[in-house]
């Protein structure tokens, strides 16, 4: 039993990181109809910026948090304005290729701006281990699970009750009609990119606290993308849940079927789910896939 509980807790912790990045994927898709293949790289860049801030302010967690959020917003807005907005109206394939190019540029920038060494993001929090009944969990892992749950609730409320959230849903549903209703699609797109960057950045920072910070971190995007597909490419909340499901499934498979099954299990689950629900567990039926 202790074995199972440990697997579940660890699965939830890594799943929460996948879930946050997956929510970033879904947020952009829901608002712009675009899959951002640079999501993992944006996660990594924000984490590196947070690390740079932490080394210059002696790890003060509040300054690091505020600085990282501001940096993430700026990154999202710059990418949207400079790279994505000129692609408005262009074929989806071309736009997707632009995000792939962006991913390569961001990935390479790590070595130019920082270095190839692994680093630890030490903000005096998240490293401690809590033990109960032979089960161990790091405080950072508890925090990332709590953050994901809080964000799920906040985003649900935002889309349901806030004016801007409703505007985003309107643009996602039909941007021309939304435009006729006086909603600025570019403004909505910019907000989606900024929010997506912040959410992914939060995941990156928590990952760096719990594990390490290295140029290989972008691979988190590859792990989170299946979570988005599982939850529904247009379902922000569903993607978050999809991340948790992937994390738990991977860990249970790894723990009971062997290390080799760990990577396979999540994808196996996606294949089965997509055969039954091609639009994902929480996705809407009429989405255009790329």
């Amino acid at each position: 039993m202790q074995y199972l509980v440990q697997l579940l807790i660890s699965g939830l912790a890594i799943g929460a990181i996948y879930g946050l990045i997956a929510m970033g994927f879904a947020l952009i898709y829901k608002s712009t109809g675009l899959v951002n293949f640079a999501q993992g790289e944006m996660t990594m860049i924000v984490a590196y910026i947070a690390w740079s801030i932490s080394t210059s302010v002696d790890g003060n967690p509040f300054i690091v948090a505020i600085g990282a959020i501001i940096a993430a917003v700026a990154l999202g807005l710059v990418v949207e304005r400079v790279v994505m907005r000129p692609m408005l109206g262009e074929p989806v394939f071309a736009t997707v290729m632009v995000t792939i190019g962006l991913a390569v540029i961001l990935r390479s920038s790590i070595n130019f701006i920082w270095d190839a060494y692994p680093h630890d993001l030490d903000i005096g929090f998240g490293r401690g281990i809590l033990r109960a009944g032979g089960i161990g969990i790091r405080t950072g892992q508890i925090a990332v699970i709590a953050t994901l749950l809080a964000l799920l609730a906040a985003i649900w409320a935002f889309f349901r009750y806030s004016k801007f959230g409703v505007a985003m849903r309107a643009v996602a549903a039909d941007d021309r009609t939304a435009l006729l209703m006086g909603i600025s699609a570019p403004r909505v797109h910019a907000a989606a990119w900024a929010a997506s960057s912040v959410i992914a950045g939060i995941a990156g920072v928590f990952f760096a606290i719990s594990y390490d910070l290295s140029p290989a971190m972008f691979q988190l995007g590859l792990k989170a993308f299946p979570a988005t597909i599982l939850g529904g490419l247009d379902a922000v909340l569903g993607s978050g849940v999809g991340g948790l499901l992937i994390g738990i499934t991977e860990n249970l498979a790894g723990g009971y079927l062997g290390s080799g099954m760990k990577e396979v299990a999540g994808f196996l689950m996606i294949i089965v789910v997509l055969m039954v629900r091609p639009f994902g567990i929480f996705g809407e039926r009429d989405i255009e896939r790329v």
Binding site: N111, A116, Y117, I137, Y211, D212, G258, K262
Partner: protein
């Protein structure tokens, strides 16, 4: 008279032309009166830049040292470095560019094990003197290639040395192993299996993870559940860090061994106290040793501050290879040729580099077969120290 002169001048003209063309054949590419070009292709971007950048810094230190001493018989060494991003196609492209466009006289490097293997036909066809130092794998020297020399020790021998040491130090204990699902992992596993058979080790856990995996919670839980007391962590860098942190979380501390690709000092800081006492095997000196400290002292004035920070064990392997190559070219005198350099490389005997045991090759021997040593991590000083 005119006929006589014509008759006389024709053979003279012919002799002069032949002499000129002979001189043109003798002067190899990459050499001018003042300069000699040495080429290199390394991963300078992406995660493997950790080894590529460090190795290139080692080459730069040896080249700066030689240039400060007047160069190779009066010629300054020009170092041409290309980035392959650890992509094999780009390695081949980079090596071709360095040989055909930059006209390198000799090569150092080259990138990772897979990349070196892939580029071997290009090197062989060109015939350029090459000293490989980053990723020594048997294919590079078996069978021996005329112009390709390898400084280092094989991965398999390294693992055999480490596991044998740990087995003798921990008799009768239960063993655990995890490896990556690629050629690197297969080599580690092959070395491990050799000792398992020879010493009849009791292996209770054997895992295989996918390259790029970052979460090792279920793998380490399985290791704990198996009751393994000695553990060979077959990850490279980030993987080993994640494994040690997981073990710390699970409150278990088996005797752990890691391999040299991950034996870099910053890893210890990231592992935290969980990384204290880890055993490692290597053929270069640890920086905490007298030789390691002397190397750092030597390197400091020769590289930039940023480059100095990028120094790790691969800097030492790069430095040693460059020293051996430069010495061989120097022994060829004022007019070095590829044939002479290859011949002098073959004659390399007990060349002292200060960062590893003396380097030797021989007739038909293209692998330096460096002596191995076991070292142990010391978290308080964030260093590895020799244990024997």
């Amino acid at each position: 008279m005119r006929k006589y002169l014509t008759t006389l001048s024709l053979p003279l003209l012919l002799a002069g032309t032949l002499a000129a063309s002979d001189r043109a054949f003798a002067a190899e590419q990459g050499i001018t009166d003042t300069e000699i070009v040495i080429g290199d292709v390394e991963p300078l971007t992406g995660p493997p830049a950790l080894l590529g950048v460090a190795a290139s810094i080692g080459h730069k230190i040896a080249i700066a040292e030689a240039n400060n001493a007047g160069g190779i018989n009066g010629r300054k060494i020009k170092y041409v470095l290309e980035d392959d991003g650890y992509v094999t196609a780009r390695t081949i492209q980079g090596v071709k560019k360095v040989i055909e466009v930059d006209k390198a006289f000799a090569m150092l490097g080259i990138s990772g094990s897979g990349q070196s293997i892939a580029v071997m036909p290009v090197l062989e066809k060109a015939g350029i003197p090459t000293v490989i130092d980053v990723a020594p794998v048997k294919f590079l020297w078996e069978p021996p290639r005329k112009n390709v020399f390898v400084v280092g020790q094989s991965y398999e021998e390294g693992i055999i040395h480490l596991v044998t040491y740990l087995a003798e130090k921990n008799p009768g204990k239960k063993w655990g192993l995890i490896t990556q699902d690629d050629d690197y992992g297969i080599t580690v596993r092959d070395g491990f299996d050799t000792v398992v058979k020879a010493k009849k080790l009791n292996v209770v856990y054997s895992g295989n993870y996918k390259k790029g995996q970052r979460d090792f919670s279920s793998d380490m839980l399985q290791l704990k559940d198996s009751g393994a007391e000695v553990f060979l962590a077959g990850g490279i860098i980030a993987e080993n860090i994640a494994m040690m942190k997981e073990l710390e979380k699970l409150n278990v501390k088996p005797v752990t061994g890691i391999f040299w690709p991950g034996r870099i000092e910053p890893v210890l800081k990231l592992m935290g106290p969980a990384g204290n006492g880890i055993y490692a095997v290597d053929y270069v000196e640890p920086f905490a040793s007298a030789a390691g400290k002397a190397f750092l002292e030597k390197a400091k004035p020769l590289v930039s501050e940023a480059e100095f920070k990028g120094i790790n064990r691969y800097t030492m392997t790069g430095y040693a290879a460059a020293k051996v190559l430069i010495a061989a070219i120097a022994r060829c005198g004022k007019e070095p040729t590829w044939a002479c350099t290859i011949s002098e490389l073959e004659k390399t005997k007990s060349v002292e580099t200060g960062v590893m045991a003396p380097v030797s090759f021989g007739p038909g021997v293209r692998f330096s077969n460096q002596k191995l040593q076991i070292m142990q991590s010391d978290f308080p000083t964030l260093s590895f120290k020799p244990v024997n």
